[in-house]
Symmetry: C2
Subunit: 599 residues, 2 copies
């Protein structure tokens, strides 16, 4: 059975040939040392950890699941050792603050390695993912003392962390949250309430877990403007991190889920637990926004991971499985049948996975680059521009990459026929694991409203235009490249259509706000298909340059041209359906009374 191999060749292509990370890193603080060679070495090292340590725990982690007993959670066999290896390798510190034991490398590097971990073992990767969110939040809002204790311990990998947002009655609608924080005489707060869906809320990987918790002060305004952030450690400690008494926060149970079974998804009960205010009072939700882009990019990255994993495994199977003959006559006449990769429809399924894995990889790297620039850009203008682009494109990346990642995982399974349904091949686990990415960190519907309502229409179209100007600038620059001319023409048409559709929806929304929600998901997917067309055109441009230069990697670059052509031929036509459903509007969606859906 083929296992996962870190796709380093394709990663190098996206980083170096398409997105010029060499230049990017050379021009941002902390990136100077991240030359292409260093990045290569880092990824190769991390790839080994994934292939040798995480992949072997992929299926066993799913089969064993986490076990809960009396408030304690045991992770599957091997997870603790793997976590220690991960921590000792210094991986939690990769892009963290150098003043708190970090290596100070750009944030984007964590997203690049994140894909490999999520492909190798999604259940495991979630323990390390929660950590980054907490580190970033502490970095942005922690006092020097808080950072010196909690952030340092996290960066050193000694402790683990969670983000505690969701409650039983509120997921998307955090304004409804009820967990309360009562001020104590010593300046701390007593935190009381129930949080659900807490990834890694309890486990045996580390001695301590730092919970970042959203709660309300007694006198806080209602809704989203009355939410504050608190640090609630599982075990109390002194300022050096020497552990003391157990805090009164306990894991009430863990969820039994469709997938990511090796990841403990916890119900956390805070029973007057000691907490410390993080950042300003009543600014908790605002604080969440700062790291929300990063968590959404991380989720987009998972979409890449699931597509890549499904692609690798189904490709290997399609090359080996002998069944039927090729339409144009035997290709393997000595054998009893041909390998199924000779069939056009099997190729369609493989190429779709490939186009999404490699296409969304470029999209995610583009986003990560903007994340770097928004944090470390040389001047305010650069940072703000990057921030705007990030705000616009993160919901696209999150929803589009997770939707197409799930589709790809399913296509990978489908290539196996009935065998794909059997657990031992791992294809169905990939489908189950992939399914969560369309739900958490804001469902596809939530991303779509954020994109169309808040970002595109909310900015009066300005944010969108900034991005399409960039595409058009690229198109003009490449106008003499004959290889990609048809793609350039197509892109220019689509951009025009994008603006036209946006205007139509905006006009309709003036008289009926439902028009935004009615169009939103189709609009997001439409935008996603155009973004990928843009990146595949860039890939084709880069590949054609390499071929013109006489590169020795001829087959590799030629495969990029072929995949780009496949994308334009067989995937991009999905925009046609998006356009029609967007234009269909809200009427038939809203006509039925809620009581009359079923009789």
């Amino acid at each position: 059975m083929t296992e996962y191999t870190a796709p380093l060749r394709d990663i190098r292509f996206a980083l170096n040939d398409v997105l010029d990370f060499g230049y990017h890193y050379a021009t941002i603080p902390g990136g100077e040392d991240a030359t292409p060679e260093v990045v290569d070495a880092i990824l190769e090292e991390f790839g080994k950890l994934c292939e040798n340590t995480l992949v072997p725990l992929y299926r066993s982690g799913d089969e064993e699941e986490c076990q809960w007993q009396d408030g304690e959670v045991t992770t599957p066999k091997g997870f603790k050792a793997a976590y220690q290896q991960y921590a000792q390798g210094g991986w939690p510190s990769l892009s963290s603050d150098i003043d708190y034991s970090g290596q100070g490398l750009p944030s984007s590097l964590s997203h690049i390695t994140g894909e490999l971990a999520a492909s190798a073992n999604m259940g495991f990767a979630l323990y390390t993912g929660g950590q980054s969110g907490a580190i970033e939040t502490l970095a942005a809002f922690g006092s020097p003392e808080q950072r010196d204790l909690y952030e340092r311990k996290l960066i050193e990998g000694e402790w683990n962390a969670t983000m505690c947002l969701t409650e039983p009655h509120c997921g998307t609608d955090l304004g409804l949250l009820r967990t309360k924080a009562e001020p104590q005489t010593d300046g701390s707060y007593a935190i009381t309430g129930t949080k659900i869906f807490i990834t890694g809320g309890e486990h045996d990987l580390t001695d301590n877990i730092v919970h970042i918790v959203l709660a309300r002060l007694p006198d806080a305004p209602q809704g989203t403007k009355g939410i504050s952030l608190f640090i609630v450690p599982k075990v109390m400690s002194d300022a050096e991190g020497n552990l003391g008494e157990r805090n009164s926060v306990y894991c009430g149970s863990i969820e039994h889920k469709m997938g990511i079974k090796a990841s403990a998804t916890c119900v956390m009960n805070f029973d007057g637990a000691t907490g410390y205010l993080l950042g300003d009072v009543n600014r908790g939700l605002m604080a969440m926004f700062t790291f929300m882009n990063a968590s959404r990019i991380a989720t987009a990255t998972q979409g890449v991971a699931h597509a890549e994993l499904g692609f690798q495994k189904s490709l290997a199977y399609a090359r080996e499985r002998l069944q039927m003959r090729a339409p144009n006559g035997p290709q393997n006449p000595q054998g009893p049948a041909d390998p199924i990769i000779v069939h056009p429809d099997v190729r369609r399924m493989l190429l779709t996975q490939k186009a999404f894995a490699e296409g969304n990889r470029m999209l995610v790297y583009f986003l990560s680059k903007q994340l770097d620039l928004s944090e470390r850009g040389q001047n305010k203008e650069t940072r703000q521009q990057a921030k705007n682009l990030l705000d616009l494109m993160t919901p696209i990346g999150k929803a589009f990459a997770s939707e197409t990642g799930f589709e790809s995982a399913n296509l990978g399974l489908q290539c196996f026929g009935g065998h794909g349904y059997i657990r031992e091949w791992g294809m169905e686990q990939n489908v189950r694991d992939a399914r969560i990415s369309m739900l958490y960190e804001g469902t596809t519907g939530v991303q779509a409203l954020d994109l169309l309502g808040r970002k595109v229409l909310g900015s009066g179209g300005v944010m969108l235009k900034t991005f399409t100007d960039q595409i058009q600038f690229f198109c003009q620059n490449e106008s003499s490249n004959e290889t990609i001319k048809p793609y350039i023409n197509k892109l220019n048409q689509l951009i025009e259509e994008w603006h036209r559709l946006t205007k139509t929806i905006g006009d309709k929304a003036l008289t009926d706000a439902n028009e935004i929600g009615a169009a939103s998901v189709s609009y997001l997917m439409f935008s996603g298909y155009i973004c990928l067309a843009y990146f595949w055109t860039q890939a084709a441009a880069a590949a054609s340059r390499k071929l013109d230069e006489g590169s020795e990697d001829k087959d590799f670059y030629q495969s990029k041209l072929t995949t780009a052509q496949f994308y334009f031929d067989h995937v991009l036509p999905r925009t046609r359906t998006c356009v029609e459903t967007i234009n269909a509007g809200a009427e038939s969606l809203m006509a039925l009374d809620a009581q009359h859906f079923q009789f």
Copy 2:
């Protein structure tokens, strides 16, 4: 938590108002007694069995799974009692031959009840499904003695049965099968070989299991023309069915699967087991074709079942879950938030499920009607016409209903947000259970090749034209109905496009056979969307007539009109993408060398 309720109101609409089963049953032998009132009573009774007996075992069956030990398989708690209740209720005999303990009702009735069982408990339903396939095969090819023993025991529900086709190295490509049958001096055969993916190959529901096995005689020609059919009982018996010695066929293991975990999927080892020839030597695969349409319709029915189950549960959730406010202002001002059904995108997901569940239900009933007519039509011409229509449309029904059933199950899950990923709601089980239907009984790719290659192009377009003539005849008849005029116009356009595309593909295929496989899945889905448009137009026509007649069921019929409009606005536009991808052809699918998909 809302459980499943048999959708009797909608079933009555499809049967009576749209497809006029009253007339249909009145005109076929065995159908005379099946008046609408009798059918109603049967379905109500079966619905109760499903709701009261099968639904309570839905989740426990999935959690407990089947257990294998030393060749014996234990089904989940409660399954044996439920099976006995099912058998004692006479349900296996519903549409079986009256001369062998059957009730002789039309085959279609079994497909109608089949949907309810598959919604209520897919794992359970598979034990009873395998039975029907064996009963039909015995009925068609068994000697009077074979029928009197095996078929009767199956119809009486005392024994259970399997169909043993697949082997480890051959699923789609049955020509490769190796299981051998050696003639014995007593006229029986010694069967030796390994079969996999055998549904209900071993279990504790009945005292005996009858295996219908594909195997090769020693002197049989290679490939598909050397396959014969055998009856291999688990336990030997005398002619009255009194059990004797154990036959040497054993269950080597059961598969651990993504879903349908309550259904035992067995590896069966035949070790010189005693078998009896069924039908003619070397005609086994031909024999399989006779019941293949029926099993594909049964799989299409599962697609309806999964869409219906997802729809019912997500609708109930969407009406109850309070989160955020409606775009046009609060709809539930007294509550902390509005029910999520106020949101256009949630409605899109609900209506898509509804349109597929109810639309595919009409499609499946239409197919079942043709099945009845192909079996019991009054003259040869009627039977042949029905058979042709069935041959054309069964692959569409199988693949389209299972693909959109899976999509619907996923949309149902999506409506729950993160909660949908948690096992207790049952939404993720529905997704896992639904996933198999796109794989077994021929994958979507196999159905698509059958449709486009064998049926449409293989008949020189004649089979397709017969069906589109029928649609056009309907369109002409309804041309004065103003309510459905836009749908009629759209249908006429699509039929023209259907023929045009068919011709284009056929022309291209003359020079490159890969063009068929390249277009096939898009072509099948395109065909499916048109079929559903046809049925939704019929539904709208029927509903508008009822409204014109002043029916008291105004809200019900109005909801049909609204759903038809939704289908044309928000689902049918998917044909636009199909057309573009079909026209894109095989070139970019075939360009990449198998070695160059990955580097």
